[in-house]
């Protein structure tokens, strides 16, 4: 607003709650394109979309998680019951499957896309709202199901335009079998689990070296969370700890069935999920330049039972904003989008605008005589600017840096 001395008062600050943010057109378009690619990949495997509400009862989700929810937004309903904004979609979708799709003969395949929420934490600059896209395969317990989920994840990430990613695959039942086979006592297991959760491999090694084992077995235990490699690491474990041979062979079959390039999937026994509901396969997908996994998941056969219907289940969820950040780090933004800013499209040239749109080229309308066509095209990244010139149109092609004339815009633009 102008003031008496002619200066403008500063606009009010664009205040948003901590961790909240707006998404502008370029980012929105890229997020949409990545999400569309994921949805197509899910559909190609026959995963049908489901949706769950953003608000759930805190008690329901805590029952699924088996622990108190941390860093969630809590609120109350009209009867004073505690609600939460869902912190992820895995548990709500498991709840939906266990309570609404009980009579499905199985195997059951569902996918989802939607926002999840987390409360801000001091010193951790994370967005409070983040979109997740995921898939769940329910009713199959074998390695084929784990392999399909891995293949779907790898294919979907690739389709979305992510390069150079790796999917780390562990198996909590294999890790357990190794500890059983080595005879690690309960007390030591608790300390090992704490070290693994903190990703403290120094503490893990110290605890391992205190175990009464042969040198070879002690080295195996000490190096367990750092084991990363192909099928050969599974053979090594099976040879050293025969009790873990079955679990190692199962994971070997999972790798064999995925059909992904060898270096894309990596056996990684250091992956241990923070949540206790995982029962077998655990997976994390990593992309260059990201500090956190772009996707994670695994097998959680016990989760459905917590909602009444026990069924084996395996799945993953992809963090869309992280996926976009990784893609944006390697791929330049699309320079110009196919579309024409047409002067007069909103009045005199409305017929031409209709025809061009029908031909599949977006038309951005301006009233006749509006002189902002070039600036609008530059600001929004449209490829063409067109104006009436005699019987035809004068068109600037900003991609090729040339100007041409044509009689019929709806024929000239799609053919270029």
């Amino acid at each position: 607003m102008p003031t008496t001395d002619g200066s403008r008062t500063p606009p009010p600050p664009a205040a948003l709650p901590t961790g909240a943010r707006d998404v502008l057109p370029l980012e929105a378009a890229e997020l949409r394109s990545a999400e569309d690619a994921l949805r197509r990949a899910f559909r190609a495997y026959g995963y049908r979309e489901v949706r769950t509400p953003a608000l759930e009862f805190a008690g329901q989700l805590e029952r699924g998680q088996g622990a108190e929810l941390e860093h969630v937004f809590r609120l109350f309903d009209e009867d004073g019951r505690v609600l939460v904004l869902r912190p992820d979609l895995t548990i709500p979708v498991a709840r939906l499957i266990a309570t609404r799709l009980t009579d499905h003969p199985g195997p059951l395949r569902v996918s989802y896309t939607g926002p999840a929420f987390r409360a801000p934490q001091t010193g951790k600059p994370v967005a409070t709202e983040h979109r997740q896209a995921g898939a769940e395969l329910v009713g199959l317990a074998g390695p084929e199901a784990d392999a399909e989920i891995l293949a779907l994840l790898g294919g979907a990430l690739g389709d979305a335009g992510l390069h150079g990613f790796r999917i780390g695959v562990g198996d909590v039942s294999l890790t357990r079998a190794v500890l059983d086979g080595l005879g690690v006592a309960d007390g030591a297991r608790v300390r090992l689990a704490a070290a693994a959760a903190a990703r403290d491999l120094v503490a893990w090694r110290r605890e391992s070296e205190a175990q009464p084992l042969t040198v070879a077995r002690r080295e195996l235990l000490a190096g367990l969370p750092a084991v990363r490699g192909g099928a050969e690491v599974l053979e090594h474990i099976a040879a050293e700890v025969p009790a873990a041979a079955d679990a190692a062979a199962r994971l070997g079959r999972v790798l064999e069935f995925t059909g992904l390039p060898e270096r894309t999937v990596l056996v990684d026994l250091g992956i241990l999920r923070d949540w206790p509901y995982y029962s077998g396969l655990v997976l994390e997908a990593y992309a260059p330049g990201l500090g956190a996994p772009v996707a994670q998941g695994g097998r959680y056969d016990g989760l459905g039972g917590r909602f009444g219907v026990p069924r084996p289940a395996v799945g993953f969820s992809i963090e869309l904003e992280l996926l976009h950040r990784a893609i944006a780090a390697t791929d330049p933004a699309e320079a110009l989008r196919d579309g024409v800013v047409l002067v007069g499209a909103m009045d005199a040239e409305a017929g031409t605008a209709r025809a061009v749109r029908a031909a599949g080229v977006p038309v951005v309308g301006l009233p006749s005589g509006d002189d902002r066509a070039d600036r609008v095209a530059a600001a929004d990244g449209w490829r063409y600017v067109a104006r009436r010139a005699g019987d035809g149109f004068e068109v600037a092609d900003r991609l090729r840096g040339e100007t041409f004339t044509c009689a019929r815009l709806e024929e000239a633009l799609p053919s270029r």
Partner: protein
């Protein structure tokens, strides 16, 4: 070395702490066969490139986990004290066995004022540069503490009545003694650690494992 998926080769980025841990870090990396010649004269440069392409990023020690956690560096060297305080989401791969020191709780010489403070006031007041470590220690031992964050010369706080005691990192204890303070409790022992970014630990598993193994040999040889 090519990145997985056939992308362009990217050099390994190592985040190095300036200050007390710098000489030991250079020595360990050199012993492990990393080309550290460019670290001989850092000057005002913050990013240095070795002949073999390795990139060194130099920062304040407390910023090392920040760079590694965010993926701006693949691996880094940092004191255990910083890890305890910051709790970064990174892999802690190796104890590099130098820069040894202890995180301690200290008060003025004479009778320990802590039990009396807790009995009469309900709390003990503690000044520290490490508020998270201090709070965790007193919570874990069942005592209420009021933690005051200060940024330098922590020893001053109990002398002028700002706090009953301090939680601080000591190597020899000389500074404590010079200020009439005595160590009452040890929170943990600290030394330099090799840390790795979570994604790099998977995407560059071969390179990071090789570096870790060579450093482990160098640490063993120095013992």
């Amino acid at each position: 070395m090519r990145a997985p998926g056939g992308g362009p080769a990217i050099p390994l980025r190592i985040c190095i702490p300036l200050g007390a841990l710098f000489p030991g870090t250079v020595e360990r990396l050199g012993a492990a066969g990393v080309d550290v010649a460019c670290l001989g004269d850092v000057g005002r440069k913050l990013v240095l490139e070795a002949g073999d392409g390795t990139v060194f990023i130099t920062t304040r020690p407390t910023d090392v986990p920040t760079y590694v956690e965010a993926g701006a560096a693949d691996v880094g060297v940092v004191g255990r004290d910083v890890i305890e305080e910051r709790r970064p989401d990174v892999y802690e791969l190796l104890d590099l066995d130098f820069g040894g020191c202890r995180m301690v709780y200290a008060t003025r010489d004479g009778e320990d004022p802590t039990p009396g403070a807790i009995a009469r006031l309900g709390i003990v007041r503690v000044a520290t540069k490490y508020p998270a470590c201090a709070m965790a220690h007193f919570t874990a031992t069942g005592r209420q503490a009021e933690v005051v964050k200060v940024n330098g010369s922590v020893e001053l706080a109990p002398l002028v009545g700002l706090a009953h005691g301090i939680v601080d990192l000591v190597a020899t204890g000389g500074t404590l003694r010079a200020n009439g303070l005595v160590e009452r409790e040890q929170l943990f022992g600290s030394s330099a650690r090799l840390i790795a970014n979570r994604a790099s630990h998977k995407l560059r598993a071969e390179e990071i494992d090789a570096l870790t193994a060579r450093l482990a040999v160098a640490v063993g040889a120095a013992r």
